[in-house]
Symmetry: C2
Subunit: 207 residues, 2 copies
C-alpha cells in the first residue's frame, strides 16, 4: 500500500467494524469476507476493503479477513489497546446513566473519577465511584487522567472545559448542547442527542 491521507470518514467507521467483529468473535466466527461484514454493518463491501487497505493489506484473497487479527489491528490503529482513564464532570441524571453504560469499558475506557459542584451530590457513591468536589479537578495530572466527559448544563460547560484543559486533559466528550472553545491540540467531540432527532422529521412523510 502506498501512502495516502486516511479519510476521517474511514476512521469514523473503524469502531463500527470493531463492534461487529467483537460480536462475530463471540459467536465463534473465525474469518469473514468484506461482503459478509457489509451485510452485518449495512455498509458497502468496496468501502470496507478500501478502508482496511489504508492501513495495510490484512485479508486473504479468496477467503476474507481473520476476525481475531482484524480486531487486533483496529484496536492498534485506534490506539484502544491501552486502558485510558477518563473523568466525568456533572453527576446528574445523564452522568449517572453514562456511568452504567457498558460501551466505555468495551473500548478500553475507565471512568476513574466523577466530579460535581452540588454539595448534595459530593461524597455520594454512584456505582462504585464516589462523587468528588469540582475543586479536586486540580489533581487530574497526578492521577494520570487525560480524557473527560462533560455532562453539566450548557452554561457551565465552557468553564469546565477551560479547567480541564488547564489540568492537562486533551480529549473531551461533550454532552452539553454548546460549542467549546479549546486549544487546537485538544480534541472535542460534541454529542447533542436532540440534534439527531431534530433532523428526523425532514425525512419523514408529512404528518
Amino acid at each position: 500500500m502506498r501512502y495516502r491521507k486516511i479519510p476521517d470518514e474511514s476512521i469514523r467507521r473503524l469502531p463500527i467494524y470493531l463492534r461487529s467483529l467483537l460480536l462475530l468473535s463471540e459467536r465463534g466466527t473465525q474469518s469473514i469476507s468484506s461482503s459478509k461484514l457489509a451485510e452485518f454493518t449495512h455498509l458497502n463491501p468496496n468501502k470496507i476493503r478500501k478502508d482496511f487497505s489504508y492501513f495495510g493489506a490484512f485479508g486473504t484473497p479468496g477467503v476474507g479477513y481473520k476476525v481475531a487479527g482484524l480486531i487486533k489491528q483496529i484496536r492498534v490503529i485506534l490506539r484502544l489497546n491501552t486502558v485510558r482513564k477518563a473523568s466525568l464532570v456533572g453527576a446528574g441524571k445523564l452522568g449517572s446513566a453514562l456511568l452504567g453504560y457498558p460501551g466505555f469499558k468495551m473500548y478500553g475506557f475507565e471512568i476513574a473519577a466523577v466530579f460535581d459542584n452540588d454539595p448534595k451530590k459530593i461524597g455520594k457513591k454512584i456505582g462504585n465511584i464516589t462523587v468528588e468536589d469540582i475543586s479536586r479537578l486540580k489533581d487530574m495530572r497526578k492521577r494520570k487522567i487525560n480524557l473527560a466527559i462533560i455532562t453539566t448544563p450548557a452554561p457551565a460547560a465552557q468553564n469546565i472545559a477551560d479547567m480541564l484543559v488547564d489540568k492537562g486533559v486533551n480529549g473531551i466528550l461533550n454532552f452539553a448542547p454548546c460549542y467549546l472553545k479549546v486549544p487546537k491540540k485538544v480534541k472535542v467531540i460534541t454529542i447533542d442527542i436532540a440534534m439527531d432527532l431534530a433532523r428526523m422529521p425532514y425525512y419523514l412523510p408529512a404528518s
Copy 2:
C-alpha cells in the same frame, strides 16, 4: 435559486444553526451576518450562505439575516413547526436521563409515553409520566405517536423496533448499540455514544 439536490450534510447542519439562532434570539440579537453566525457555530461563512441558499434567499445583502425569520424558516424546512409525539421504550437509567433532557422540547418533541417490561418499573412515575407495560404499545396509533426512542439493552432492540414499526412508528432514535432492520419507509438514527469516544484516541498524542 435553481433546483438542486440538497446535500444531507446541509440538513445535518440546520439544527446547529437553529440552536445558535435560538440562543441569539434569547439574547435579543435581531439580525446576524453569515460570518458572525460562523464564529458562533465554528463553521465557515461560505458554507452557511450556501446552505441557506438551497432553501431560497432570505438574507439582506449588506446587512445579514433576520434571526427571527431564519428560525422560522429552518423550523419549516425541518418540519419542526408542529409538536410531534414520541414514545420512549426502556425506562432504565439512560431512558430516565433522556426524559429530563431539555433538548427534546426545544425541537418540538413531546415524549408522550414511556414503556418497559420490568414489573418493578411499571406504574412508577418518572418526572410526570407513568411507565406503562410494553404490551400497551398496541395503542400507539390511537394515541397518534409515530416516533420512538429506544433505550433498551441491545438484544431487545430489534424486537422492540419490529413492534414499533408494526404499530405505525416511522422514525426511531436508537440508543442501543446495534443496527436495526426496518422497512425503507422508516427512518432510523442510531446513536452509539461509546463509538464517538472510541475514535478519540486516534486523534490524541501518543500516551
